[in-house]
């Protein structure tokens, strides 16, 4: 109750607490009144109990209220006269004693309550203190654990860094303000041969090549002072074994950092790299010298085919690009329009990223002159296989191209000349024959017609008819004279007769007809016999004969399939010391019925032919004492043979007759 009492009481409002006083006193009074005289003997005890209870439960003030109420109840009920507050004298001492006793009880109870309360308060405070202490203790434990963990991490980190430093291939040095080495990592021994103990305490200049002392001192003085900034120095240093080494030092200043107060230097041996760099530089310089001095020029293009590099010899050759990167490789080509196919193929090859070689194109020099360039290139790919452009070399081949063009032009001119010469000899003769023979022929026909008509008139005009017949005779003779005249012209060549090699003549004609053969895709086979005797004759006339036979063969094969055009030209000698030339084609061959007429004048199977070539050829061959004849080839085509008497033929012939 001592604890429960105040707890539920304390929840009561103050009036409630005072209610306790009323309740307790009323209960006591009621008990006294109802018990009548049975408890009369100790009526005050109940009231004292009520006061004690009230004071104990409600405190001093409630106790005092209960005391007042008890005094009133005592006065009313227990003093004479009963049930009246009017006291008479005899009861006053009793009431006074009661009052004092009640007050005393009340103060005792209240004091008791206060003591109890202060005790419990002190106990509560103590309990609170203990709780706080426990909390602080727990926090301390957590903090401790964290600190231990951090320490462990720190140690681990330090071990790691130490391991890194000590096992790094780079040597790590800590150098103080006076350039004295304060720390050297174990790798220092590997880099320069000195154990860390040997290095510590020495000035860094000790290790540097004396030639570089001044530079090294200056660069050390000029180091950035701000922590965290670094500089890279390259010095030649002396190894313990006496050899010179190139070292690269990355230096960070920690001089102003109280914990470090040093320059941290990372030292790495770059001798190999330095040598390699030097070798590379020399090599590059060597190639650059080659490239810049070579007449060829080297070029590179990017993935978009624009030039990224061209050696100076390009400009030295008189070429110019407004801006290197503005031009794509094919922008240099001046013959794109006229050789569209070549250009398209080239661009397609480049777009397909395939190498090309010896691609020749025409371009324009800065001075406007034309030039030919031959270029070769191969694609460049990066490590991932992505196309990066082309790299290659080109050269000015103008001279070579011009020479070839000149040669071709010469070839063409020769061929042209062969045609012209053929035309001027054979053609002129045939034209002149045609005209010269045609005139008398026309006259003959007209005279004959006139004669017929003179006879048809009534009466027939015989005189006119006779005149017409006379003119026919005259004109017929004239035509014959013309033919004889031409034949005589052919026989009586004005050119001097020479001693000739028929093989040489044949080869000269082949050279002349080479372009014609190529153009018509004729496969030529030559079978020239060795050791042929020489012939005597007119070089040009004999060339005309061979040329005529070959050109006839080419024309005869024109309608054959391209693969079926075969021409065989052969020379040989027979037992009677005749030299024979054979021209054999794979054309349709001569008409068997017409083979005898082949050599007749004006006999031709060609639409635009005069039919004179073979006739004249036969005249020429016969004028040289030889024979020209034809036969069909098997399975198709024609064979033309002609023979010429060789030197010494007469002796051989006579010898043969004699035997």
């Amino acid at each position: 109750l001592s604890q429960a009492g105040p707890r539920w009481l304390s929840r009561l409002p103050p009036t409630g607490r005072y209610g306790v006083a009323f309740l307790a006193v009323s209960a006591a009074t009621a008990l006294i009144v109802t018990s009548q005289r049975d408890v009369e003997s100790a009526p005050a005890s109940l009231l004292f109990c009520a006061v004690m209870l009230s004071a104990w439960l409600g405190g001093l003030r409630v106790g005092l209220l209960a005391t007042a109420l008890s005094v009133l109840a005592f006065g009313y009920f227990l003093t004479m006269p009963d049930y009246s507050l009017a006291a008479h004298r005899g009861s006053v001492p009793r009431l006074l004693v009661f009052t004092l006793a009640a007050l005393f009880v009340c103060s005792l109870a209240a004091a008791q309550k206060r003591a109890t309360q202060s005790l419990s308060k002190a106990r509560d405070e103590l309990a609170g203190k203990v709780g706080e202490l426990q909390k602080a203790n727990r926090a301390l434990q957590v903090e401790n654990a964290e600190r231990r963990r951090a320490e462990a991490l720190l140690q681990e980190s330090e071990r790691r860094f130490r391991a890194l430093i000590e096992h790094s291939s780079d040597a790590i040095l800590m150098i103080d303000r006076e350039a004295t080495i304060r720390y050297a990592s174990p790798s220092f021994e590997r880099v320069l041969g000195y154990a860390p103990e040997e290095a510590v305490g020495r000035n860094r200049l000790f290790f540097i090549d004396p030639d570089q002392h001044d530079d090294a001192a200056a660069s050390f003085a000029g180091l950035p002072k701000e922590p965290g900034q670094f500089a890279t120095l390259q010095n030649r240093m002396r190894h313990k074994d006496g050899s010179l080494r190139w070292l690269e030092t990355t230096v960070t200043s920690w001089l102003d950092e109280p914990a470090v107060q040093a320059v941290v230097a990372n030292v790495r041996d770059i001798t190999e790299r330095k040598l390699a760099e030097q070798a590379l530089r020399e090599s590059e310089q060597r190639f650059r010298d080659h490239a810049e001095t070579a007449s060829d020029f080297l070029w590179e293009t990017g993935a978009d085919h624009h030039f990224t590099y061209i050696t100076g010899s390009f400009h030295a050759s008189g070429f110019v690009l407004a801006r290197l990167t503005d031009a794509r490789c094919w922008d240099l080509m001046a013959d794109r329009a006229e050789e569209a196919d070549k250009w398209r193929e080239h661009v397609a090859a480049i777009e397909a990223h395939v190498p090309f070689r010896g691609f020749v194109y025409r371009t324009i020099r800065a001075d406007g002159s034309e030039a030919y360039v031959s270029t070769s290139g191969r694609p460049i790919f990066d490590a991932d296989g992505a196309f990066q452009g082309y790299r290659g070399a080109a050269s000015d081949v103008t001279t070579a191209v011009r020479a070839r063009q000149a040669e071709e032009a010469l070839q063409r001119a020769w061929a042209e000349l062969a045609h012209i010469s053929r035309l001027t000899t054979l053609g002129e003769i045939t034209a002149s024959i045609a005209h010269e023979v045609n005139q008398p022929l026309a006259a003959v026909v007209a005279n004959a017609s006139a004669g017929r008509r003179w006879l048809a008139v009534q009466p027939p005009n015989l005189q006119e008819t006779r005149d017409a017949l006379d003119r026919i005779v005259r004109d017929g003779n004239r035509a014959g004279d013309i033919i004889n005249h031409i034949r005589a012209l052919l026989k009586k060549s004005t050119a001097p007769r020479q001693r000739l090699s028929i093989n040489e003549i044949t080869l000269e004609v082949i050279a002349l007809t080479r372009s014609e053969l190529d153009m018509n895709r004729v496969a030529l086979e030559l079978q020239l016999a060795d050791d042929l005797p020489l012939v005597t004759g007119d070089r040009v006339q004999l060339q005309q004969v061979i040329l005529n036979l070959i050109v006839n063969a080419i024309e005869a094969m024109r309608d054959q399939g391209a693969g079926l055009r075969e021409l065989l030209v052969s020379t040989s000698a027979d037992a009677f010391h005749h030299v024979r030339v054979t021209v054999q084609d794979s054309g349709p061959g001569p008409d068997p019925a017409g083979i005898d007429r082949l050599f007749d004048a004006f006999y031709t199977t060609k639409e635009d032919g005069m039919g004179m070539g073979l006739a004249i050829s036969r005249s020429i061959v016969e004028a040289h004492g030889g024979r020209l004849w034809a036969m069909p080839n098997a399975p198709r085509g024609a064979i033309f043979h002609f023979t010429l008497r060789a030197e010494g033929n007469e002796e051989v012939f006579r010898a043969a007759l004699a035997s």
């Binding site: 005209h435 026309a442 006259a443 007209a446 008139v457 006119e464 005149d467 005259r474």
Partner: protein, 214 residues
């Protein structure tokens, strides 16, 4: 004049230019054998120097001539207003040459030796062409003669009559009486030998009388 034109029609003349005397002789004989009159020349210059009769005819011309070629000569003739129909003959003709000649108005292009009938047909055709041209020229000359016989006043009346204007209108145009116009009109018809107004209109057309003046 009419008599003159009728006379020349009986005697067409064939001109022949060829530098080969054999051909010349043969063709002369051939043409004479069919009753044609022939004048033969060895060169174009000879032909130009000669006095040519005013008669229908044609020219047989060798392409290959000394001096300017036959084709050049054809052009020269056209330019110097000698409108003779031309028949070309050649020793060896080619197609471009013949096309050129035909385009320039040649009647025929014959390659030697040719059949006599081909030449004679061509000549006949040429003469016929020239005869028509000749007749037209003669008729026109006759008409021009008649027109010249008209007085200026009669020509004015004729110009208006052939455009279809009535006598009354013409009288008003020329500020004359209708009777006077009738008299002039009768004179015009008589002098021009026109039997009807339609014939007079055709004559005016041939003469090229400017009828657009009114």
């Amino acid at each position: 004049l009419l008599g003159n034109a009728a006379m020349t029609e009986e005697h067409p003349v064939v001109f022949l230019i060829d530098d080969d005397p054999s051909v010349r002789d043969a063709l002369k004989s051939l043409l004479r054998s069919v009753g044609l009159e022939v004048r033969a020349f060895g060169s174009a210059q000879e032909f130009l120097r000669s006095k040519r009769p005013d008669a229908p005819g044609c020219l047989v011309l060798d392409v290959r001539l000394p001096g300017p070629s036959g084709l050049d000569f054809q052009r020269d003739l056209a330019e110097s207003n000698i409108p003779l129909p031309i028949i070309f003959i050649t020793g060896h003709g080619d197609i471009p040459m013949s096309v050129k000649a035909m385009k320039a108005g040649a009647v025929e292009f014959l390659t030697k030796p040719f059949r006599d009938q081909e030449l004679l047909d061509a000549i006949q055709q040429g003469i016929e062409q020239d005869r028509v041209r000749h007749q037209e020229t003669a008729i026109l000359a006759d008409l021009q003669e008649r027109y010249r016989a008209l007085t200026p006043r009669e020509r004015d009346v004729m110009t208006r009559v052939v455009t279809g204007r009535l006598n009354k209108q013409i009288a008003a145009d020329l500020d004359l009486s209708e009777v006077t116009i009738k008299v002039h009109r009768g004179q015009v018809m008589r002098k021009m030998l026109a039997k009807s107004l339609a014939e007079l209109v055709r004559m005016a057309d041939k003469l090229g009388v400017d009828s657009g003046r009114s």
